[in-house]
Amino acid sequence: MPSDCQCSACNCTTKIVRERIGDKEAIAMIKKLEKEVEELRRENEGLRVSSSRNKTSKRKIIKALQNKLDKLLHETEND
């Protein structure tokens, strides 16, 4: 079984311990993160390539994946 960290892997709703941030705080946090992420991308070519690939050929990748997945699901249904 391990090493998934199953401590938090559930879909139950009994674990409310503390309040989370509100929408305003979240948006401020996103803006702050945006700068840090840009810096990480500037420093790392692989990340730049990854994000531009996602923008330019995302559809193509998804189509290939969807085909793979359809094949798998088709096999499952016909089994």
Binding site: P2, S3, Q6
Partner: protein, 298 residues
């Protein structure tokens, strides 16, 4: 105490030999331990009991813990989660999995050899109501995650992605980041609900608290000893099922205090993940991408 959540380590036995697993041995929890644990839980100062049945592979010993789980479910406020690989599930388990307040989390890595997403597992997943998928990212499965992402996206399953606790199989932060960005892009195509995904315990889910090991969460081993975390079994116990355990508050890592996401990041594993850590970059990239989706701040 708002909830109590034991990791019930039903057995060390498993039908897989995952390269990153730390569990060894053949121990199986006995009825005596389940009975004592039942009393401990019913006397706890909360009615919100979230029992996590794990191992090893808990379905191998389903007959040993089914009775205890069903008794506990009769008490209001009890929920059960079974953490399984679904490889060889006894027929009776499916009926149990349909009970209200029972959830099943399934380990699928889709590696070359480990926990593969194949037609057998897909068939079994279809029999479950809203399963949660757990994936450990290692060198073995890093190149197969896109298909798994598409499958999860299509079904809108909850997804808990982690690197391994001990960082023995963890990839570089740059390789991981590229993969995480790819995965998120795929999920977007399926209009995925990003409040259902976590990476190394970072999630925007409202009830997400990160690790509470040694506090509301603890691990009960087959011999009845209680440890703060299942990975500490055999080390220093914090109690046992007969006399209870001493709770210990885990404080946020001091090195996390200046981090831009400290308010909502749990700092991953409090035991093994030392911060600052290059993997924190991956968590930030992940946080940025999913927060944009959830809070619609594009």
């Amino acid at each position: 105490m708002k909830f109590i959540s034991p990791w019930v380590h039903t057995t060390d036995k498993c039908n897989l030999k995952c390269h990153y697993c730390y569990v060894r041995g053949n121990a199986v929890m006995t009825e005596e331990i389940y009975t004592a644990l039942e009393e401990l839980l019913l006397n706890a100062p909360t009615k919100n009991r979230h029992l996590r049945f794990a191992g090893g592979e808990p379905t191998l010993v389903f007959n040993r813990w089914e009775g205890f789980a069903r008794r506990m479910l009769k008490h209001e406020g009890t929920t059960v989660e079974v953490l399984t690989n679904l490889i060889s599930v006894p027929e009776k388990f499916w009926e149990f999995a349909e009970l209200p307040r029972v959830n099943v989390s399934v380990s699928i890595d889709n590696g070359k050899t480990v926990k593969v997403l194949d037609k057998t597992i897909i068939k079994k997943l279809k029999r479950l109501r809203n399963p949660w998928i757990m994936t450990t990212v290692t060198t073995e499965n890093i190149n197969n995650l896109e298909v798994l992402a598409a499958y999860i996206g299509e079904n809108n399953y909850g997804w808990c992605i982690t690197t391994d606790y001990f960082e023995e199989t963890t990839l570089s932060w740059t390789v991981l980041s590229e993969k995480i960005i790819d995965i998120i892009e795929i999920l977007k195509e399926f209009k995925y609900d990003f409040s259902k995904i976590s990476f190394n315990n970072f999630s925007v889910k409202n009830n997400f608290t990160g690790c509470r090991a040694g506090n509301e969460m603890f691990a009960v081993m087959p011999n009845g000893k209680i440890y703060a975390c299942q990975t500490l079994a055999g080390k220093t116990a914090i109690g046992d099922v007969w006399s209870g355990y001493e709770r210990k508050e885990i404080h946020q890592k001091t090195s996390c205090k200046s981090c831009s996401i400290s308010q909502i990041c749990s700092g991953w594993c409090p035991l093994y993940f030392k911060t600052p850590n290059p993997i924190c970059n991956v968590i930030k990239l992940f946080a940025y991408e999913i927060m944009k989706e959830v809070y619609h701040a594009k």
